[in-house]
Amino acid sequence: MELVLAITIGVLFSVASYLLLRRSVIKMIFGIAVLSQAVNLLILTASGLRSGSAAFVEEGSTALSPTAADPLPQALILTAIVISFGVLAFTLAMTQRVDETVGTDDLDEMKSTDV
């Protein structure tokens, strides 16, 4: 399972890198979206995949059972998903504004401030 996920993560990272290097703004934004998914998957895999029980403390015991999944990576990913959702919403709104003011989707034409 780790191998499959590792390959998936690698593919996602390379897709994201390819998209980020495109000249089109909207494709670059898609690159960021894919990148954040790749990172989320990486956190899940790096912190260990376990086919145990859910991360609940059983009734009557005070500690988590040793077979239980680690709840922390899931919490991290949940936080990261929420953040990347907000970021994606912002970047898409920004793309629309860029399209309105600059009138192009081509990054190579956005050089008027670089003199």
């Binding site: 980020l20 990486l42 790096a46 912190s47 920004m94 504004r97 003011t101 401030t113």
Partner: protein
């Protein structure tokens, strides 16, 4: 209430209050400035507590560390929070005259306070993932501040700023994930303990490099700085001033944190790399600055070269060098913000940021010339101003010969001195072009550019910051003692770890 939480609650409450007054821009303006005064009070209180009673730490939600999220302030964090609050206050005052009504109406002050919340949070968190979250709070608010107004130049700058910072955040998150996978903890004090007896130090160094890239983009070190001069000169002056003062320094601070606390297993490699990067950062930044003729773009390149000095101090890793870095941090934040604020006033007089079209400001506004002269000479490292002592400490540490790099460090010391000379050169270039030479016939100086109250609002922050620069320069020992103590806390993190983890690590 606890001094640490107060520093987070105050900017959060101010931001909420500004949002609640959404329809009343005048009320937002007052809340914006008064909120910064309150933050200044909270930060001063935190600094006093930390300076008197040592490192402060509390854990959120009553979960004992390392499980709960820790807030912790040692001396460097307290100093940074205090300086950030000073900058926040001066920029808020300046904003009242500088930010137009439309930007105010769309929540400028609310986002200013949210950004301060992110900055302060990143300074006082004791948890690496929590630091990521504070970085995002800071970044998203800074994105809004940068794009607010939606002018063409702003959007072009913003797209580079936003995308490169988001890529760096992805690196940061990846590094957090891998570090958690290796160690099973995210608490920085706990990480410092657990990484010491980790089986595979090479994997740790790989993680360290991920953090280096993540924080390197945010700090603007070579070769990751290109977003900075492409974007910092596009928003209104008040916004670029607070960005220039604070945001890159949060990256430097994060770098100092992880490279003194967690990644100290393979010093020769990690800090050797930092040493080389510091050299290139200094040289590339200053060479970029010398070729620029836009006031703010020139200053943006100087941020990069000055970041090099701070990273140099971190790389040398001796008490004197780290004290130099800490001293450099607070000196640089004050001076750089001030120079940006002055560029805004110069723009009001001349109607342009382009140095070749400026001129005659010395005879038209001699006080502005004096106020420019102080931070400019301080940046160039002329005694008795603050920049001299900052540079002196870093260069002395590199020539001292007690670093792990031997004569390699001395080469960097020589580079730092040469870069200082070039910095002085480009400050003199601004002086010659904007202040000294005769005004351009097509761009005469407009002395009636500001109304009376506007003049007060624009000049008083500049005067405050210039006074601080002079005060630091005239009594450096007082400030340097704090920097030295902060450096000792960084080099020997036992007290930090004990403050966070308590008796049972």
């Amino acid at each position: 209430m606890d001094a640490l939480t107060l520093c987070l609650i105050v900017p959060f409450a101010s931001a909420l209050a500004c949002i609640l007054c959404w329809r009343f821009p005048v009320a937002q303006r007052w809340l914006g400035v008064l909120g910064m005064v309150a933050l200044l009070g909270a930060a001063g209180n935190l600094f006093a507590v930390v300076a008197n009673d040592g490192i402060q730490a509390i854990t959120m939600g009553n979960w004992a560390a390392p499980y709960g999220i820790t807030l912790v302030a040692d001396l460097i964090a307290a100093i940074m929070v205090l300086v950030a609050a000073i900058i926040g206050f001066t920029v808020a005052v300046y904003s009242v005259a500088d930010i137009d009504a439309n930007r105010e109406r769309f929540g400028y002050y609310a986002f200013l306070h949210l950004m301060m919340l992110g900055v302060v949070g990143a300074f006082i968190t004791g948890d690496i993932f929590n630091m990521f979250v504070w970085f995002e709070v800071m970044l998203l608010s800074s994105f809004v501040l940068m794009t607010l107004g939606g002018e063409r130049a702003q959007m072009e700058g913003a797209i580079k700023y936003v995308v490169l910072n988001l890529v760096s955040s992805a690196f940061f998150l990846t590094a957090c994930g891998i570090l958690y996978g290796k160690t099973g903890t995210l608490n920085m004090a706990d990480l410092a303990v657990k990484t010491k007896d980790l089986m595979e130090p090479e994997l740790l160094t790989v993680t360290a490099m991920l953090f280096l890239v993540a924080f390197g983009v945010k700090a603007g070190i070579f070769p990751l700085f290109f977003w900075l001069p492409a974007s910092y000169h596009t928003p209104p002056v008040a916004v670029s001033a607070i960005f220039a003062g604070l945001l890159t320094k949060v990256g430097v601070y994060a770098m100092i944190r992880v490279f003194t606390l967690i990644f100290v297993g393979d010093l020769l490699f990690t800090h050797g790399l930092l040493l080389i990067l510091a050299g290139f950062t200094m040289v590339c930044g200053v060479l970029g600055a010398m070729s620029q003729f836009d006031f703010r773009r020139l200053l943006s390149f100087h941020i990069i070269s000055q970041i090099g000095y701070m990273v140099l101090g971190l790389a040398l890793f001796t008490p004197l060098a780290l004290a130099g870095t800490v001293f450099y941090l607070f000196h640089h934040i004050l001076v750089k913000t001030n120079l940006y604020l002055i560029s805004g006033i110069a723009n009001r007089y001349s109607g342009t940021f382009y140095l070749k079209k400026m001129g005659g400001l010395y005879s038209a506004a001699p006080w502005l010339a004096l106020l420019f002269f102080i931070p400019a000479m301080s940046l160039g490292g002329i005694p008795p101003l603050s920049g001299f002592f900052a540079k002196f400490a870093v260069v002395k540490a590199s020539l001292a010969g007690d670093t792990m790099f031997g004569s390699g460090a001395a080469i960097l010391g020589a580079v730092a001195l040469a870069v200082g000379l070039l910095t002085l050169f480009s400050m003199i270039k601004i002086w010659n072009e904007a202040f000294w030479k005769k005004p351009d016939v097509n761009h005469p100086v407009n002395t009636a550019a500001m109304t009376g109250p506007q003049r007060w609002l624009l000049f008083s922050p500049v005067v405050i910051l210039a006074t601080l620069t002079v005060v630091i320069g005239l009594m450096p020992e007082f400030f340097f003692n704090y920097a030295m103590e902060a450096a000792h806390q960084l080099l020997d993190p036992t007290a930090y770890i004990e403050a966070v983890l308590g008796g049972n690590p």
